[in-house]
Subunit: 346 residues, 2 copies
């Protein structure tokens, strides 16, 4: 049924080796006449080499695995697109799976990927399978972490500078005259962007001589409705914030909704800035200030680096191990100063 290299060889009256050579572009090892004849047969038979057999022999699949945790978040959709584009242009295919931030599921996926003999792995790690990550790195398996650092493991990682981003956001609020700045965070759980955004927030306050008020640090569960609760709580407390720093784009929408159910007004009573610029940020009411992250670029860089690690066969020698990209502040009306003409990059 399917046409194999043997079929081509027979029809062209040559051996499989010859076909193989020609398929792989070693034209100068054969007479022009044979080359043309074989090429013609390949065309006629519409022969496509079985990548499985080839990979088995070469122990190289040209497949890269990527495990992400939330494609609803446009940040990750962009990362994926960036990674896909880079893979494609370098001749690799992408095998994707979704961990949903669940360590068990992640572990299974990694196992499955390994059996499928992927050439390398890009991951937004749950951070719950340190031993597994470590084994890969130790075994010189090409591995790169995207967005999250893995504490206690000297792995390749590419992130956006979260301390910087959070500092920019918080500082912007301070410059707009706000002092009682609340931060909304998902439970930190040792996840580096969360830790670092909190740190950036604190640094900005300290640098500006503002005391850190623990009641303004809102750690919420990722469960539905938790954010609304937190908003309600903070606005019925003694110390009502005059600004909110939301550390995730999905969270921001819920905060907006929560605030709309209070008597407080954005930005008059409370300024709001969100992490992650999105297509909808500027269309919110009021238009939302955000921290933009180079997501597409990050995905692309991660893929390129991984491919370099794969192709040099010396993952550990591909430097630098840590790449940290720069975020940007996008100022809009939600922080209190109507920017005529819309966006202002700092």
């Amino acid at each position: 049924m399917k046409v194999t290299i043997t079929d081509v060889a027979k029809k062209a009256n040559v051996s499989k080796s010859t076909v193989s050579r020609i398929m792989n572009g070693n034209f100068d090892q054969n007479t022009e006449e044979t080359v043309n004849r074989v090429l013609k047969v390949i065309e006629e038979l519409d022969y496509r080499p079985n990548a499985l057999a080839r990979s088995l022999k070469l122990t190289k699949t040209n497949v890269i695995g990527i495990v992400l945790s939330n494609l609803q978040n446009p940040f990750w959709a962009s990362v994926l697109e960036g990674a896909e584009e880079a893979c494609q242009s370098h001749g690799y295919n992408l095998m994707i799976c979704n961990s949903n931030n669940n360590g068990e599921i992640e572990k299974e996926h990694l196992r499955s990927f390994e059996m499928k003999q992927i050439d390398g792995l890009m991951i937004n790690p749950t951070s719950k399978n340190l031993d597994t990550y470590k084994k890969m790195v130790d075994n010189d398996f090409p591995f790169i972490s995207i967005n999250r650092k893995i504490y206690g493991l000297d792995a390749h990682v590419i992130t956006v500078d979260n301390v910087k981003g959070a500092k920019m956001a918080t500082t912007h609020l301070i410059r707009q005259g706000r002092r009682k700045i609340a931060i909304f965070l998902y439970q930190v759980e040792g996840i580096s962007p969360r830790l670092e955004r909190l740190q950036g927030y604190k640094l900005a306050l300290i640098e500006n001589g503002i005391d850190i008020d623990p009641s303004l640090i809102l750690m919420v569960d990722e469960k539905k409705g938790e954010i609304a609760k937190a908003v309600q709580k903070v606005f019925s407390a003694d110390n009502i914030p005059d600004a909110i720093f939301s550390t995730s784009s999905m969270m921001t929408l819920e905060i907006l909704e929560g605030i709309s159910q209070t008597k407080y007004n954005i930005p008059k009573d409370v300024a709001l800035i969100g992490y992650d610029e999105t297509v909808w940020s500027k269309h919110l009411f009021p238009p939302l200030s955000t921290i933009w992250q180079p997501a597409f670029e990050m995905g692309g860089l991660a893929a390129k680096k991984l491919i370099e690690m794969i192709e040099t066969k010396k993952p550990k020698e591909v430097l630098p191990k840590v790449i940290s990209l720069d975020p940007q502040l996008i100022k809009r009306e939600s922080c209190g100063e109507a920017q005529k003409g819309g966006v202002v990059l700092e």
Copy 2:
């Protein structure tokens, strides 16, 4: 280096066949003693079968390919998540690629997928490679089209009823008292959802005794800025619409922006309804009425159907060939009637 079935066999003092049988769960073909011994060695050696070798032998990879065109669009992100989840729960891996709606790129991806011996394909087809799709279907290769029908090809397809959705949207506008309803569409180019949404729009008008005004049918290029131009054009023409039906979520944001630059007000002067409910719809100003589509479900169903086609080995006998899911109307303030309490499903 890597541990193979031979290593396990040697260490357990059995043949490869025995190990293979046990790996595949045929426990009753061996004495309990052997089974345990082999299992123990497998564990000790941390043996993971090479899926490449297995697939080569079995001509079955448990890999499904998916080609999409735009992950930025949350609709597709949801489809992908749905598909991924179904694959995962049925023991399949997903290989993903992005055609960017480009026929050439799509063709290359399909070729690459074929060589990688994927078991089946889900695709949002560009519709530019009819011959390729046809060959797959004719060869009994498991193939399913998502969201777009492929005219002239009797392939499996799963869509959301676009005529119905567009009719619901348009009818809603009419019921709100609007008569001069404009529709914004990307160039149709034989793409079924676009054709059908236009058709649904027309049907609604006809059923309500409203003449179709060609000047209110705005076909725009997918290039940046084209929508803004179209908005400007329509609002400086003689026949200014009192409602707009936007047929894509990204488009809607641009229309909103365009309108904000006119003197017209939503919903007072012009009502707006968008295709595709998104996380941000209800946070726009004013909150946007939309047509919701079961994207996650569609992805999941497509994957399950494909898997059935794969596993029965009789793709053509898996019925029905065409699945059409139902959209829903979500009413919000952008169409002119403030809905207290927010969402109202019809």
